[in-house]
Amino acid sequence: MKKEEQFNQLIADNSDRIKRICSYYNSNVDDQKDMYQEVLVNIWKSLDNFRGDAAISTWIYRVAVNTSLSFTGKAYKHMKLMVKADNQYLSSVLDDEGLEHKLTEERQLEHLQNELNLLSVIDKALISLMLEGLSMKEIAEVIGITESNVKVKIHRVKGQLKTKLAGGQDERNQ
């Protein structure tokens, strides 16, 4: 298959996945579009190196996450992680099945959003992969660390978020 055909097929199969990743990192539609285009360019540049060792989805996520780090590199500190209440995996962030329902309240979603945006760039990347429904093993393959290391990091982030959200809840109830 020619590179051009392979590329077009890859994008056709994964464009929604890439767009979602872009939307995690940018609230502005124009920025999302710019980043989407940047991811496509980097997929093209890296396509010759695809040997099929990793699943194509893991490969796509690597390019997307690495691009997001480079793309937002212009403003690391201002990089935000945008979440939507209808995200299928949102409850996994706090291990709370009832979260989706609770988060329909705009204020709570906003609170979670604020807390997520206080996380470091790497933690944001981990959470974005979690929101995509990737397993710990797949996240480890994307980032390049061990599965146990991913588990520790995600456990810590979840703990931080839970504490902060619970604290926020308590403050409001008082």
């Binding site: 051009e4 590329f7 077009n8 994008i11 767009k19 872009c22 939307s23 539609v29 999302q32 579009k33 989407y36 285009q37 496509l40 360019v41 980097n42 997929i43 093209w44 540049k45 890296s46 190196n49 695809f50 490969w59 690597r62 390019v63 996450v65 690495n66 691009t67 780090l69 480079s70 590199g73 690391y76 470091s120 760039v121 790497i122 990347a125 393959e141 994307v142 980032i143 390049g144 660390i145 290391n149 520790v152 990091k153 810590r156």
Partner: protein, 180 residues
């Protein structure tokens, strides 16, 4: 709302693909042309040195030309290497590996810098030995050395403004990933 977002996020894929193919071709063509130029110029210069030897030119001049030839060869290989390295950043590597490579790429002084230094020394020796150029040795050292120092200074300034923040950010992310 979702529909609007999707529509606005659309990138015209055929146009983008066409642009990417064009860029690839341009890059391949440029690399090829540069390589052809170097590999034609180098033997030509070598033949010129041989002609000087046959004509009985002073040994110093021949040595000087020899050093210029070595400098050209050095810069040709170095340029080729840099061109290849900087244009083929692989974004599909694991994030940690990509960041480590970025840190190495954005270091101001690397082992490869020694190759550039070797090229500069060859040029300097070429200027010193080539008496046909009519340069005074001390004057050459002052002007050439000064130019090299100013160039290094400008290079470091550019690095500090453009590349140091990237290197530092990549380092910080590596520390964070490797922590715990």
């Amino acid at each position: 709302m979702k529909e609007t977002n999707k529509k606005e996020q659309q990138v015209r894929l055929p146009e983008l693909t066409e642009k990417l193919i064009k860029k690839d071709k341009q890059y391949a063509g440029m690399s090829k042309r540069l390589q052809i130029m170097y590999w034609i110029l180098l033997p030509v210069y070598f033949i010129l040195i041989l002609v000087h030897i046959i004509d009985g030119s002073p040994v110093k001049d021949i040595l000087g030309s020899g050093f210029f030839l070595l400098a050209m060869l050095n810069f040709a290989l170095l340029f080729r290497y840099y061109h290849k390295t900087y244009n083929t950043v692989d974004y599909s590597q694991p994030t940690l590996l990509m960041l480590k490579k970025a840190v190495a790429r954005y270091q101001p002084f690397q082992v490869k810098t020694l190759w550039a230094l070797l090229g500069i020394i060859f040029v300097d020796l070429g200027l010193v030995f080539n008496s046909s150029l009519g340069f005074d040795v001390i004057w050459v050292q002052l002007v050439f050395g000064g130019t090299v120092l100013v160039s290094i200074g400008i290079g470091l300034l550019i690095w500090r403004v453009s590349y140091k923040p990237l290197r530092d950010a990549a380092r910080a992310m590596i520390r964070e990933i490797e922590g715990e």
